[in-house]
């Protein structure tokens, strides 16, 4: 019984982090029709910013917004410099379908190498603000800790905040309109380019939070090749795809589902399967529903 609860809690927490990553990927996809394979790399970079901030300010609570702002600014920079050029130059021919994929893959490599050159390959310690020791519950120690609780609360708050932004504000309307029908948006007076950059910036901030939490929830260290971030890269992407790439809700559902399923597979089946499990789950979902859980058939064609 205890193991079941523990597994569920582990799954829910890592699922929350994957949801954040998936939200970032869906934000970029919805606003610019690009799958940003470099999203996890950008999250890692933002986490390094956070690492520097922790060292400088000696506070995780300051470091988190620093990471978010740094992540947002970097993402905005990439959108302005790289993505706009991409649309201009590689819009036709056989390369058009794969150009954004390839460009973001290249970006991932550049970011990774850049991080390694700037900070070196060794592990850097990131200390969380609250302990990751489990709560005691009737004599047993649960895996659930203040840290995990914090992660869950933060994700829920961010999710609510983003939903309100998108559904209830004019800015959100502009974001959605620019994603669905850029020309109509332009004719309504929306500066679509700026809105797209904003989409990337929001994604960068969300990714930063995911990165910071992935670090403190996992090994507590970051490095250019850390397994935690390879896992974040794959799982974030798979969570987004499972969720259907259509909505933030789908991203969260995909993330939570993936997190919980992986946790159960790792603990009840075999702990070495942490790279195969996401793949198998992805195949299973796409086999039953190729458009993802909340995706619609029409949109899948894009």
């Amino acid at each position: 019984m205890i193991q079941f609860v523990n597994t569920l809690l582990i799954g829910v927490t890592s699922g929350a982090i994957y949801s954040l990553m998936a939200i970032a990927i869906v934000l970029v996809w919805r606003s610019t029709r690009v799958i940003n394979f470099a999203q996890a790399g950008m999250a890692l970079l933002a986490t390094y910013f956070g690492y520097e901030a922790i060292n400088f300010f000696d506070s995780f609570w300051i470091a988190l917004p620093v990471a978010m702002i740094g992540g947002a600014l970097f993402a905005a920079l990439i959108e302005v410099v790289l993505m706009r050029m991409l649309v201009k130059h590689a819009a036709t021919g056989p390369i058009a379908a794969v150009a954004p994929i390839i460009a973001t893959l290249g970006l991932l490599g550049v970011i990774r190498a850049g991080i390694a050159i700037q900070w070196g390959g060794q592990d850097r310690l990131i200390v969380g603000p609250v302990s990751n020791d489990g709560f005691s519950f009737g004599g047993e120690v649960l895996v659930f800790s203040p840290m995990k609780l914090l992660i869950l609360i933060t994700v829920v708050v961010l999710m609510l905040g983003l939903s309100i932004l998108f559904q209830k504000t004019n800015l959100g309307l502009a974001l959605r309109a620019s994603a669905y029908a850029p020309e109509i948006a332009r004719l309504s007076g929306i500066k679509v380019d700026g809105v797209r950059t904003l989409g990337w910036a929001l994604a960068g901030a969300a990714g930063a939070v995911a990165g910071m939490f992935q670090a403190v929830n996992g090994s507590g260290t970051i490095s250019p090749d850390s397994i935690d971030f390879s896992l974040l890269l794959v799982s974030g992407f798979i969570a987004a795809v499972i969720g259907g790439l259509e909505s933030l809700t789908g991203a969260v559902i995909g993330g939570m589902l993936l997190g919980i399923l992986i946790a159960f597979i790792l603990i009840y089946v075999d702990g070495g399967l942490f790279f195969i499990a996401p793949f198998v789950i992805l195949l299973a979902v796409l086999f039953i529903r190729p458009q993802g859980i909340l995706g619609s058939k029409a949109a899948r064609r894009a």
Binding site: A174, A177, I184, L187
Partner: protein, 236 residues
């Protein structure tokens, strides 16, 4: 003359879609631009609203040179363009589509009043105000598209083939609504249409475009009576 176009040339790839077009539309009048497929009508509108950049020529609106200005800016100057195909955003609700039209407007209270105004012109939109736009019929979508343009408080309204794909009764309704709002809102309207009869019936001015050039300009009634125009475009 509030709208003055002189020697406008717009290229569409390698093709010269609009070739040295000059026209003038008085304030508050409805000008119908007719011509067959490929005549350059759509490209002309897109150049006026800023979506396409003209190669040469001038566009003057209310005394200001608006040639080559971007749509984002032109909307704020009162130029509203309803592009061809029922240009509504399917995933948004009717209300959100309308709100989109007014999104740049500073005065939110006035914008809310505009929704009431649109609903009074197109009551069917009021009935479906919370529904998703893709649940609307073709005619309703066209009304929504025009409604969205009205939400921007336009002084110049550019309509690209609003009758396309609609049933005859619905077309009549929409044309009548266009005439009504030209009168009541006192806006200048450019109506591009392949449905030459319907368009000329409600227009003050008629302009015939062929292969990118203006081949005839006259009062709408005069064009309808012109035997050459009748033979070529009106079918009788």
């Amino acid at each position: 003359m509030s709208l003055n176009v002189s020697n406008l040339t717009v290229n569409h790839g390698a093709i010269c879609a609009v070739n040295q077009v000059s026209l003038a539309v008085p304030t508050g009048k409805l000008a119908a631009i007719i011509g067959s497929n490929g005549a350059g009508k759509t490209t002309l509108l897109r150049a006026l609203s800023g979506l396409n950049k003209p190669a040469t020529g001038n566009v003057m609106w209310m005394g200001e040179n608006i040639t080559g200005m971007k749509p984002e800016k032109l909307v704020r100057m009162g130029v509203s363009h309803v592009s061809e195909g029922k240009s509504v955003i399917a995933e948004l609700s009717v209300k959100e589509n309308l709100e989109l039209g007014a999104i740049w407007r500073r005065n939110k209270k006035e914008a809310a009043q505009s929704i009431d105004q649109v609903v009074s012109i197109f009551p069917r939109l009021g009935e479906r105000i919370q529904q998703r736009a893709d649940t609307l019929s073709g005619g309703e979508r066209q009304m929504l598209a025009i409604g969205r343009a009205i939400m921007a408080k336009p002084a110049l309204l550019l309509l690209d083939e609003p009758s396309l794909g609609l049933a005859p009764l619905v077309i009549e309704q929409i044309f009548q609504s266009i005439r009504d709002l030209t009168n009541s809102m006192r806006i200048t309207v450019l109506l591009v249409e392949q449905n030459a009869v319907g368009a000329l019936k409600i227009a003050d001015l008629g302009i015939v475009l062929n292969l990118g050039k203006v081949v005839a300009v006259n009062h709408a009634q005069a064009l309808m009576d012109d035997p050459a125009v009748r033979a070529a475009y009106l079918g009788y």
